[in-house]
Amino acid sequence: MLKNMLLSATILLGASVSAQAACNFANTTPIKVQAPSFPAWVAVTDYMKTCGNVQVELDLQYKEKQPAALAAKPALYQFAGLAVNSLVPLLNDGTVRPLDDLIAKYGQNLQPNQLIRIDGKVMAIAMMVNVQHLMYRRDVFADLKLAEPTNYDELLTSLAAIKKAGVMQYPMGGTYKSGWDLATDFVNMYFGFEGSFFGAGNVPTVQGDAGLKTLAMMKALSAYMDPEFLTSEANTVQQQFQRGKIAAANLWVTRAGAMDDAKESTVVGKIAFAKAPAAHAGGKPATTVWWDGFAIAKNISDAEADAAFHVAMQGISPEMVKANNAAAIWLIKGYEPGKYAVGAAASAGAGAPPYPATTAMGLMHTALGANLANYFSGRETAEQTLAKIAAAYTVAAKEKGILK
């Protein structure tokens, strides 16, 4: 035990010494940081730690804890790492502060693109974007002389060909795990069919033509997926790719690097990254652009907020990006898009919309996640499922107070 502790102490020391140059000031105010736990945040918070007095919590359940933690007086954390959707509850509770004055003081390196403005005031800073886009096996497609699919109908044709050729039994992968993942895929496809979720006064309009088309297309795709698709999330799909089980999937761009990791992948160099397919010929890519970033708590002293923001700027500095260029699609100055960013850039360039983070959308997303599975497991028809989603949304929206 003692030996282990000594060892890890030296490892920690080693790490901080090498990165010491990163922080250009010594922080004296204790700062507590809460952020989601994934590799990009590890990189950012490691840089923040070099300023001293920074305590970091990378937490998988941050979405559940953050609203309450920031609502406490004083807030439990000064710095809240979050994504586009998890900012909404904080805005609703009024527990994050406007950052304009702090940006004027410390934000010289920020790009205009990073500032999340709500009603004119900057309420959060984005540091990276994430988007689901098409990854496919270049070698398998080439062997069968299949072109890169630009829409889902083409993709279905390719999948049929791959299956028929006997290359793979289930050539498609999908993040269709019942709940948040499945709902996200529905939202992507639904926007691809130019659907809109709400009418005036937040009335749900999901029961339309676009909803039916979306469900039909998703079900058609699921026929090419491993039958356990309702339990399959991004980790599963990533592994299916790595083990050579699937030939195509619409997967998060942050997963791209893992495909070429020789330690666990058997398909190094064989995966191509492309624009997300359109839902129908001539449509925009059926995907949404998400951002990850941070906000600063309101229920803390101004001095703490000042220090937290100052430290945060060290975390998302150009030096950090230089050292971790491949860890994410950074929005930060100095980022050089590599080969893993190609598909994401093409998707955004072709007009993939940003994920519309609003209160109503949050409720809709939850209702989708809770009710879609019955359709895919064959217990309900498309109409029944959409009706149930609309009903679940209506109950929640009335409870929340946004629907009269």
Partner: protein, 341 residues
């Protein structure tokens, strides 16, 4: 024991249980009849989010909470049985059983009844298996050489002591996707099976996991009970010419009866709140349990909202169910108590 001394002895436990169980319970009961709503206004908001290289700004009507002194305004009011109605959906049930309805299958598509159906069958199906397997193991172990008992008891207890999260995971790894046992089944039957692709296989696996996990507990309780079987009675029954089955039926089982009741009660309570399995096997697309339903209401949705009112109603209904289930074995305790006083 005198009243004051008695109170002194139970005070520490009582205080803990009141603060951490009874009070939350009272608040749950209160909340199940109330609803808390936010107050929202529709405003034209310009918001900007990052695109890939350029920013996207939109002006649109958004619902925004009304703030007062930096805190979102909410209102709480009494709603009677609304939350319960929300869960039980009596109208939909009536519809289902009307001439034009789809009958039971439509009812089972309503979350609450789906959860109730699964929870009940989970509880009642595992029960005989656990008691039976526990009993068989106890009898078998009681019959083997002394030197072997230690190691056998040790291995038998492993599934019980293992952390449930890890146990469920271990079983899941055997079956998921290309797990070793899925491959084995494929190899034996020649059929491609996907254990996580349909409800009944997942349900089967959850049943299997629970039996695997709890039968050792029944075993160790019964085995301990077997150590106190009265030798004279057994001898007498042998002299009377009782067969093995008769001895089991008329001597051993009656002796173990209080323990069987004990294991049954513990098992009813634990499996009625089945939850770990649903999470561990990611079964919620196909099968949900009552506690999972409560938990999912309590999990903040994408707006940070917890459906506390509905969760409370669902919790109250769950509690009602367990009380009804326990009435049967409890009747005995009640009779004992009446006999004593």
């Amino acid at each position: 024991m005198r009243g004051r001394v008695f109170l002194g002895f139970i005070a520490p436990s009582l205080v803990l249980m009141i603060i951490f169980i009874a009070l939350p319970l009272v608040s749950v009961a209160w909340q199940s009849f109330h609803a808390t709503q936010g107050v929202f206004e529709d405003v034209l908001v310009e918001s900007c989010t990052p695109g890939f290289l350029t920013q996207t700004c939109v002006k649109e009507m958004q619902s925004r909470p009304v703030m007062q002194a930096g805190v979102a305004v909410t209102s709480t009011r009494f709603v009677g049985w609304d939350n319960y109605r929300q869960l039980l959906q009596p109208d939909a049930v009536a519809d289902a059983f009307s001439p034009t309805g789809h009958g039971m299958s439509a009812v089972l598509n309503i979350d609450f009844y789906n959860a109730l159906r699964f929870t009940l069958s989970f509880t009642l199906i595992t029960l005989p298996f656990i008691v039976g397997l526990g009993l068989l193991l106890a009898l078998a172990v009681d019959d083997i050489a002394h030197g072997l008992r230690g190691p056998v008891i040790f291995v038998t207890l492993l599934p019980y002591i293992i952390t449930p999260v890890i146990g469920a995971l271990a079983i899941r790894w055997l079956f998921v996707g290309d797990g070793v046992l899925t491959d084995a089944i494929r190899w034996i039957t020649g059929h491609d099976v996907s254990m996580f692709a349909q409800g009944w296989t997942i349900e089967l696996m959850m049943l299997f996991y629970r039996i695997w996990h709890i039968a050792p507990f029944a075993f160790v309780v019964f085995y301990a009970g077997l150590q106190t079987v009265n030798k004279d009675t057994i001898e007498a029954s042998v002299i009377d010419g009782a067969t093995r089955m008769e001895r089991l039926r008329y001597v051993i089982i009656p002796h173990l009866m209080p323990l069987i009741v004990f294991v049954t009660m513990i098992h009813l309570m634990d499996s009625y709140r089945v939850f770990d399995e649903v999470v561990g096997f990611a079964a919620h697309a196909y099968r949900i349990s009552l506690q999972w339903l409560t938990y999912s209401f309590l999990t903040p949705d994408q707006t940070g909202n917890r459906a506390v009112a509905r969760a409370s109603a669902s919790a109250m209904l769950t509690m009602l169910g367990i009380v009804v289930l326990l009435l049967v074995p409890l009747r005995r305790t009640w009779r004992d108590h009446r006999g004593k006083s």
